[in-house]
């Protein structure tokens, strides 16, 4: 029997990444699998006010920093929410306001810097354990993230591949999602997703014992319910109206292939598990902004899921 720990959507949170790397030892897991969306959603400018003074606006609260200790503490707070601290000055802020394209460059630079740090931390923490991390960046992750992961000896980029895990189970993986209102980095139409999935499932030698690690959850699985939005991206009816937003192509693929296990993320509030036919389908959800690592421990036999539980770490 092998024990898998799966987590997803850590969105740039240093705390969640560190917890993820520690989870193997903590839960006694043999394999670590990370779903997509490793990168954060916001840069927080630390605006220099002269001397050791900085002004930081975090979550609409203004903090005035006056020394090195406070600066380090604020950096930690910002990183704990998965945001990227960026030391700047009033002149640069003015310049960025005039040319928002430059902000995208800063974003990419900060994202890649953190991903690089995470790869180094993984090497350090998992050295000598024989444990690898299998991951596939999600729809919110820039393409450049893949290049950094490819360089890692500990973190395996599983996107688009059929990976044979040490337990003998085959795993297909993809961070691509169906269309979202945000036009993110890795999204496409359902028919294209169907082709993507077919390209992987057709290479499976033992489909019924395989694992799907697909960022988006299957449509109408109960794990894909998100607040309905209006055209301005406002939740309608104060968030009371929840609608399924998962992939229909993925659902069809699961129904057809009937893998042993299907792991998902993408919808942070979609935490749960269900069955589609014989397949156990799990979305552990995400609370990355609270520094809490939601995950799932799955105990796998050769031909069946022996047991599983969702975790709150």
């Amino acid at each position: 029997m092998t024990t898998i720990f799966f987590a997803t959507d850590v969105h740039g949170s240093d705390i969640c990444w560190t917890k993820f790397l520690n989870a193997g030892k903590f839960y006694g897991a043999d394999q670590l699998i990370l779903g997509g969306d490793m990168t954060g959603k916001a840069v927080v400018p630390f605006i220099h006010q002269g001397g050791q003074n900085y002004r930081v606006t975090l979550l609409e609260q203004v903090f005035d920093i006056t020394n090195e200790d406070e600066l380090a503490d604020m950096r930690k707070k910002v990183r704990s929410r998965g945001y990227y601290p960026y030391l700047t000055n009033p002149d640069e802020i003015q310049e960025l306001e005039k040319d928002p394209a430059k902000v995208s460059k800063i974003f990419l630079q900060e994202v890649l810097k953190v991903v690089q740090q995470w790869m180094e931390l993984a090497e350090k923490k998992l050295a000598g354990t024989g444990m690898k991390v299998y991951c596939c960046p999600g729809n919110d992750d820039m393409d450049e993230v893949d290049d950094i992961i490819r360089e890692s000896r500990t973190v395996v980029l599983a996107e688009g591949e059929v990976t044979l895990l040490a337990s003998g189970h085959e795993m297909i993986a993809s961070g691509w999602s169906n269309r979202t209102p945000w036009n993110t980095h890795r999204e496409e139409d359902e028919d294209q997703l169907a082709v993507r999935y077919e390209a992987m499932t057709s290479r499976l030698k033992s489909p019924q014992t395989a694992i799907f690690n697909i960022h988006v959850p299957p449509y109408k699985s109960g794990l894909d319910e998100a607040p309905e939005l209006d055209k301005d991206l406002r939740p309608v009816l104060a968030g009371n109206s929840m609608i399924p937003v998962g992939s229909t192509a993925l659902r069809k693929s699961i129904e057809k292939v009937q893998p042993l296990l299907s792991l998902h993320g993408h919808i942070h509030e979609g935490r749960g598990s269900t069955r589609i036919g014989k397949t156990l389908v799990i979305n552990p959800g995400s609370m990355y902004e609270q520094g809490t690592l939601l995950g799932a421990i799955i105990k796998l036999g050769k031909n069946k899921v022996e047991n599983y539980v969702l975790t709150t770490g």
Binding site: T18, A42, V44, A238, H268, S273
Partner: protein, 549 residues
């Protein structure tokens, strides 16, 4: 945070409408179902109703601060269950939340059923000339059981329809209900006592076959005999305070849909959460005051209390003599009697029925979420969270509906005096809220990093976190309510049953109900924990924080 530095990523939504949040909070403190129902049962107190409304609202502002703050620190997390578990760890959050959000809703079922017949079925049957059926439906025993089953059928249909559809039904019901209530209040404000007396006697006779003259006097007499006494205003602070454990049956719920609110990205979103709930609380409080004054002007305050006393004295079994008005004195119906146009009366009664239909569907929606959360955490069997081919959680529904049928039967037929436990439905939820208040008080100290990186980190009163201050005040208020409910120490010094609220420790039904539900929750928690351990899963570890070093 400036939008300039936020990239387009999944889930980056804009803020929801405060007005929509207001609508759902306003409907949760449902003025016509919970309000009319609670007000009518409070006929035997010494504290003024207007004073009680205002004082309770002041305390409940702190409830709103507590919940807005927790949502800001731990948004979209699943509410009381997760907040308590995160702060306290272990089974406390599970036991309090499973009882408060699930088991206690079984007891709410016959209460919803009673409101269904009194607000909707009985007046409409009367309006359509079916007086015999109307009077039968208002009676004790089988009619209440039938009505509870009808309520369960409606709620089950809502779960099958899903929240997307029901949220729209609720919004429509809000507008229809508000129009109906506006007509009721206008009728009461423009009517006269003489017109009311004439309309009441004539229409009651037509609706329910009552005596066509002398009904007002007979009802007043029955009410006086029942001890109707509650004044409109006045009373000492102590007398007003002891009315609050009854009044909160109506207004303890501005936070009911709050855990659905989205991600809180800053102080502005925190204020939006607060505003949605606070405006709702303010609106129902003002509405209550206007309604009471309007009742006082046209129906007459004393008669309103006497009619209520006459009904509930009979309903609770203190007398076997059917009151002169053999149905619940629904204020909307009494207002409709100010016009003799039957069509207008029916329109008013139909519009007012939307207060029930737009609200009652939520009976088991929260329970479904908690049942699912418990199953996902493996404290219930996996099958409990299964959906059928249409996406309906059939097994979870059965876990709510079957016990609710049993509890409704016991309540409707008053098995062993079970009807006296009405307020226990509020009590168990208040106990859960009390746990959440304690979690709020200690959160900034027990979860320092989480709190300090949250949108409310800078909100302080005299250097003390606002969430702690609000938790102390709201928790103190809940403690007062619990002491009153359990011990009733001020006005029932002899500890005589059933006490001022019917659910003191002297009421065996209430104590047994509470112990049974908490016992069941504890048995589930420890039973499944032990089962999982035998399967090689350490549940304590599953919910423990992974070290960050």
């Amino acid at each position: 945070m400036s939008d300039l530095f936020v990239r387009k990523a999944t889930g980056m939504v804009r803020s929801w409408s405060v007005f929509d949040a207001f609508i759902y909070a306003f409907f949760s403190i449902n003025f016509v179902t919970l309000g009319f129902y609670a007000f009518s049962q409070m006929y035997y107190f010494g504290g003024g109703m207007i004073n009680a409304l205002i004082i309770s609202a002041i305390f409940l502002v702190f409830e709103i601060i507590v919940y807005s703050s927790l949502i800001a620190v731990m948004p979209r997390s699943g509410g009381d269950y997760v907040w308590q578990t995160r702060v306290f760890g272990g089974g406390l959050g599970f036991i309090l939340s499973i009882t408060g959000w699930w088991f206690t809703l079984w007891l709410w079922t016959p209460v919803y059923g009673d409101m269904l017949r009194q607000v909707v079925i009985v007046p409409l049957l009367g309006a359509f000339g079916m007086s015999g059926q109307a009077v039968w439906f208002a009676g004790t025993g089988t009619p209440l059981f039938v009505s509870s089953i009808l309520a369960l059928v409606f709620v089950s249909v809502v779960i099958m329809l899903g929240m997307k559809t029901y949220a729209r039904i609720q919004k429509f019901s809000f507008y229809a209900g508000v129009v109906g209530l506006a007509i009721v209040i206008i009728l009461l404000l423009t009517g006269t006592p003489e017109a009311f007396k004439a309309g009441f006697e004539a229409n009651s006779a037509a609706y329910f076959g009552t005596q066509s003259s002398g009904l007002v006097d007979a009802t007043a007499e029955a009410g006086i005999a029942a001890g109707a006494a509650t004044p409109l205003t006045g009373g000492s602070l102590g007398l007003v305070m002891v009315t609050l454990p009854w009044l909160v049956f109506f207004n303890l719920w501005p936070n009911w849909g709050a855990t659905l609110y989205g991600e809180v990205r800053g102080a502005t979103d925190y204020k939006r959460n607060f505003a949605g709930m606070a405006w709702a609380l303010g609106a129902v409080t003002v509405l209550g005051i206007v309604f009471f004054l309007a009742v006082s002007k046209t129906i007459g305050w004393d008669f309103y209390q006497q009619a209520n006393g006459a009904w509930w004295n009979y309903y609770w079994g203190y007398t076997t003599e059917v009151p002169p008005l053999p149905v619940w004195p629904n204020p909307a119906m009494l207002a409709a009697f100010l016009t003799n146009n039957r069509l207008v009366q029916i329109v008013i009664l139909v519009l007012m029925s939307f207060w029930w239909f737009g609200w009652a569907g939520t009976l088991f929606l929260s329970s479904t979420r908690v049942v699912f959360a418990a199953a996902f955490d493996r404290y219930l069997p996996e099958k409990v969270a299964e959906l059928n081919k249409n996406g309906t959680p059939v097994n979870a529904m059965l876990l709510m509906v079957i016990p609710a049928v049993v509890v409704s039967y016991m309540y409707a037929y008053n098995v062993g005096g079970f009807i006296s436990v009405t307020l226990a439905a509020t009590q168990a939820i208040a106990i859960m809220y009390f746990g959440t208040s304690i979690a709020a008080i200690v959160l900034p100290y027990k979860k320092k990093d989480l709190y300090e990186a949250s949108p409310i980190a800078k909100m302080k009163v005299a250097g003390i976190p606002l969430i702690t201050v609000a938790g102390l005040i709201f928790g103190g208020f809940l403690l007062f309510l619990l002491v009153e409910w359990f011990f009733d120490p001020w006005l029932n010094t002899g500890g005589e049953a059933p006490g001022l609220y019917g659910i003191s420790l002297m009421n065996t039904n209430s104590v047994v109900f509470l112990l049974a539900t908490y016992g069941l929750a504890a048995a589930l928690y420890y039973g499944f924990k032990s089962k999982r351990k035998s399967e090689g899963i350490d549940m304590d570890k599953v919910q423990a924080e992974i070290p960050v070093e």
